[in-house]
Amino acid sequence: MSIAAKANALWEYANPRKFLATSERVMPFFWVSSLACIVVGLVWGFFFTPDDYKQGSTVKIIYLHVPAALMAINCWLMMLATSLVWLVRRHHVSALAARAAAPVGIVMTLIALATGAIWGQPMWGTWWAWDPRLTSFLILFLFYLGYVALWEAIEDPDTAADLTSVLCLVGSVFAILSRYAVNFWNQGLHQGASVMRAAAVTGADTEEKVSNIYFYPLLLCIIGFVLLFIALVLYRTGTEIRARRVKALLARERVNG
């Protein structure tokens, strides 16, 4: 199959019926494998990894904090991609997938913020610090809230999809801008604990040998969170498609009867 044909085959899933049928078929795999990965990763991390010599047992929070933070950002990127697809190719499934993903992103951001605050309390001596990374996540949280609120506020589904897509594009630019602004504004509490690079996280305060102990369960949790995100988004997109259909059928009923 040529690349063009493959690409065309991919667009087939933009058909709501085809999407529903396929997602129904693959969803069980994602649910089971994501739960398996998360359970194994968390049990491994919680029960079978040693305490860090500096951070004590709090290092175990990493197995939730880092995957949630990663998914909070990746979810926005996914919404950006699907918004672009909607604006360019006008596939309804794409717009609905962005809508379905946003609440998942909110929860991921909340988990990252909550675990960060609880972790920060003993480590930095405060629940909240205006550290650049924390601040960026708070701003990301505001973007998510605005995005969801705009979806909820607009009656007409196509107008809502268009407006939220534009908001997502503009918001992405401003989110990146805010990231740099916040970095400039406050250089940060702690050095080197870059959450984005797993190697830096696990190697920040520990010796390289020890960091591998934390790395594998963390990797498993990250994979689990990615799979869970996919399962949730597939399921919630299906719900949105059905909700749209109910709305259309009811409207037709009103016209006919």
């Binding site: 004590g56 175990k60 929860v107």
Partner: protein, 52 residues
Amino acid sequence: MMPDLGKYADTVLWSYAASIGLLALLIVFSIARGRKIRAEMEKVEQRMTRNG
């Protein structure tokens, strides 16, 4: 069985509880809404086919 969490036991357990609680809420709400909408769609579709 329970590992010794030392003086940070509260911290670790609270963050696990908060995260797993939030995730569970998300999943429960998603599935509840999915069920509701699915039932609603079936009801409306049946009515449509009956009435032509």
